[in-house]
Structures are given as structure tokens and as C-alpha cells.
């Protein structure tokens, strides 16, 4: 995709969203590195995709799109829109791809199609920034999207020797309150089999 095509594709996206971003809020948790994050970045992202799909089964709101002011439409099955390596390429994952297993998914993710960027996002967007070293993220949701999950780079955990990855979730504050978003993040961490860092201030 050359620059002109890329700009044209972005213009389409902006027109679709009427240039408006949703009132986006972001939450971030830390999850300890472990078996889920080894051995390669591709497999780590593949496992995250599978975990996110599992979490979407319980709460499909984050894969939904706002189709009108008072209407959201959730896909009948988990749909992911994955951007490995900082969104260098984009890939749509449905039931068939997610059912193929972790290894096959990792191989598929590494062979994403750069041309796919023009397609409007459908389902939950997953952005992998861990390979680029980004530690914090806050995005804006466009085009009526209701959620974006972002895997951030590993950093030394506040306590304990094992490092931890950041996991951020952008969500539409009009449609979802922080508690629900935090529970979705927790469900993703649980599906990953990853331990979360931190304890509640009520203690």
C-alpha cells in the first residue's frame, strides 16, 4: 500500500466516524510474565487473542459497534481485529482462525496482510505494542468501536523478581463503566493464566 492509498484509506475511516471519537477512557493492569508470554512475541500475541476471545464470550460488549446513537450491535461470535508489531499489519480473526490453535494462529499473525489496514475495524481490536517497547497507552475509539485491547512492553514489576506486561483497555465511557471494563481485563488475565500485579486499596 503506497502513501496515497494509505491516506485515502484513512480518509474513508474518518468519514465513517464523521471525524468523531468516542469519549474514550483507558484502564491498565499489569500481568506477570510466565508460560503465557514465552517463547516468542508471535505466540504471546496468539495466546492473548485466544484469551480475549474467551473473555468476549462472557461479555461481548467490547467487540460491539455503535450503529446508531442508542444502539450497539455485538457480533454473534467473538471477532478480533489484530495488529501485531504495533499494527504494522492487520488481521481479522473469526471463529475458524481462533479454533485453529495457538501455533497456527501465531503463524498466521506473522503473515498478516499490510493491505488490510483499509478495512474498518470490526470486533475487538487488539494492538501489540510490546515489541516496540511502549509502556503506556491511551487511545481514542473511532467508528463506533467499543473496545481496544493493547499489550504493552514488559517492565520490572513493583514487587517480586518477575517482570510484568501492561495490558490496557480503551472503552467507551458512555456505554460502559470502569468496573465492567476492569472485570473484562481481569477475565482476559485469567484466561491467559497470568497472575495480576497489585492489590486493592481496601486492604
Amino acid at each position: 500500500m503506497d502513501l496515497v492509498e494509505r491516506v485515502r484509506a484513512r480518509a474513508e475511516l474518518l468519514r465513517g466516524a464523521r471525524g468523531r471519537a468516542a469519549p474514550t477512557a483507558s484502564l491498565q493492569i499489569l500481568v506477570r510474565a510466565g508460560a503465557w508470554s514465552d517463547p516468542s512475541a508471535g505466540e504471546r500475541l496468539a495466546r492473548l487473542c485466544l484469551a480475549a476471545a474467551e473473555a468476549l464470550g462472557a461479555d461481548p460488549l467490547f467487540a460491539a459497534r455503535r450503529t446508531a446513537r442508542l444502539r450497539v450491535q455485538a457480533p454473534a461470535e467473538p471477532v478480533l481485529w489484530v495488529g501485531p508489531d504495533g499494527g504494522r499489519t492487520w488481521l481479522r480473526l473469526g471463529r475458524a482462525e481462533l479454533g485453529a490453535g495457538c501455533q497456527a494462529l501465531a503463524a498466521r499473525l506473522s503473515a498478516g496482510d499490510p493491505r488490510a489496514e483499509a478495512t474498518a475495524p470490526a470486533g475487538l481490536e487488539i494492538l501489540d505494542l510490546s515489541t516496540l517497547g511502549a509502556l503506556e497507552w491511551r487511545g481514542a475509539l473511532l467508528g463506533g468501536a467499543q473496545g481496544r485491547l493493547c499489550l504493552l512492553a514488559a517492565r520490572p514489576a513493583p514487587s517480586g523478581a518477575q517482570e510484568a506486561f501492561g495490558l490496557a483497555l480503551d472503552f467507551d465511557a458512555a456505554w460502559c463503566e470502569a468496573g465492567r471494563a476492569a472485570r473484562f481485563l481481569a477475565a482476559v488475565a485469567t484466561a491467559l493464566g497470568a497472575e495480576r500485579v497489585g492489590c486493592g486499596p481496601r486492604s
Binding site: 468523531r20 469519549p23 474514550t24 477512557a25 483507558s26 484502564l27 491498565q28 493492569i29 499489569l30 462472557a58 461479555d59 461481548p60 460488549l61 460491539a64 446513537r69 442508542l70 444502539r71 450497539v72 455485538a74 503506556e136 491511551r138 513493583p158 514487587s159 501492561g166 490496557a168 467507551d172 465511557a173 458512555a174 456505554w175 463503566e177 470502569a178 468496573g179 465492567r180 476492569a182 472485570r183 481485563l185 481481569a186 495480576r196 500485579v197 497489585g198 492489590c199 486493592g200 486499596p201 481496601r202 486492604s203
Partner: protein, 302 residues
Amino acid sequence: MSPRREVPPGLTRGQLDGWIRRRTAYINRFHVAHWYPSCCVQARVDLTAADALRKRLNAEDDQPGSRVTINHMINKAAANALRNHILFNGKYTRRDSAMIYQRVHAANVVDTGGMATRIVIRDADRLSLRELAAETHRLVSARRLTLGEKLDRYSELQEKVRLVEAMFWFLPYSSRLERELSHERALDFLVENPSTVVITNPGTLGVQDCKAMLFFGNLLTCLRAMAIEEEAVLEDGQLRFRRVLPVGLDYDQRLCDAGPAVRLLNEIRRNLEVPEPYLVGPAVEDPRAPLAWPAGRGGEEG
């Protein structure tokens, strides 16, 4: 006596429609025409002194109905600090106007599992820490019991509103706009709305960082507390671990600059780090504070 029901836990796909009906007030409030430029500043609070005070208070009185938690201390610290930064204590009345209140009514976000709601501690700055804790325990229990009923009533109202809107679609645009901009009545169903500031604690759900508006409704300011972390510090050549609480303040950038916001956050931090003089009793007013309520000027009663 009607049966009392708890709010159902997380919503499934089939319940999405009901969810939308319940969220309508918020969706309108956050509509692109209504939301405003928010900024956030963050700080980290050393909890060593607050932890010690909490343990001491709870050792003196360990009744479950009056136990002091870090949550209560955060609320008290924020309410006390607002006394000297009253500009942050207010709410929007229309799209581009706001009212500042003299009395500090702190709203606390309560996560019920399916729908967040708020309780309001009236005159939180005038209460002692122990009184605030007891009042919070009482209101949270009551709120959890009655919320399900209120949500059902709100859903039914939304249905009627939709019907009326379908019948009177030809109403002049200006009157529809006016109605859209006045959400207070709708919000009253979900939140008890005499509040003047909102304090939320996603840290109880393990959230480490959080940016942008969470639960503003029509309030100007939102203080949020994240999950407590442990950090290592080097003091006099000795390594020690301490508990720190990341706190953030969301505010409207049109209302004030970063300086006053950071000063408010610093005062909240001071109240928590030096709790004995600033946190246990009623707020300590600083007459020299530039954003305090002017001395000798009466305020609203509400």
C-alpha cells in the same frame, strides 16, 4: 412489602437491550455535543502513616459498621482538600455553564457487579473520619439493596420516553435540544444527585493506571485511586519497601489550568501522608488559599 432484589451480575448478549435502556442517561450525557475537554494529573501517595492510623483506629473500635478503610481515608482527604480548592466542587448545569457549591457532598462510586452507582456523603469535610466511615458503611448496604428496583423503574420510564418521542417527533428542534441537555432528572434515577464531586476506586479491581473520564455524570471533578503498589526506597543507605497509592484527578481544562489541579492533588496527598492533623477531624481551612470559598460570603443551602 415488595421483595428486594440484588442487581443481576454481568450482562450477557441477550441482556444487551436492557443494558442500553439503562445506559441511556449516560449515553446522552457523553454524547459528542456534551462531553468536554478533560485533563488528568496523577500523583503517588506514601501510605505508611495512613496505614498506621487506620490500624490504630480499628484497634480502638473494631465494629464492622465503623471500620476505617483506606477508601474512607481517600474520601476524607479529598473532601478536606476541596475545602481549600472550592473551584473543583461543582457541577454542570447546562452545556457551557457550571455552578460551584460551598458545601462538599462527596459521591462514592459503588461497584455492584452489574451497574455502577454512587452513594453521597453529605458534608464529608465536616465529618470526622470515624463518622465518614460509619456513614459510608450504612449507605453502601442500603444502596445495594434498593438499586435493582430503581433500575427496573428507570427502564420502564425509558420505554415511555421512547414512545412519547416517537409520537412527537415533529416537536421543534430547540425544545428537543433543551430536553437533551437537561439530564439531571434522568441521572437522578441512577445516582443520588446532590453530590458535588465524585471519587472512584478502580484500584479495588486491580487497575494500575486509568486515564480520562470514568463516571462524571454532570460533575466537574473526578478523583480516582488505583491499586496500591509496593515500591523500594533507599533511605539513609537502607533499602525499605513502602506501600504507595497512585491517585489521579480528572478535571475540565476549560475551568482551570494544571497548576490549581496539581495543588489540589498535592493537598490530598499531604492529607494522607500526614493524617493526624489533617485527616482525623473536620477539614482544616486555610484562609490564604486562593481558591477557598471567600470568607464572610454565604453560600447555597443545597
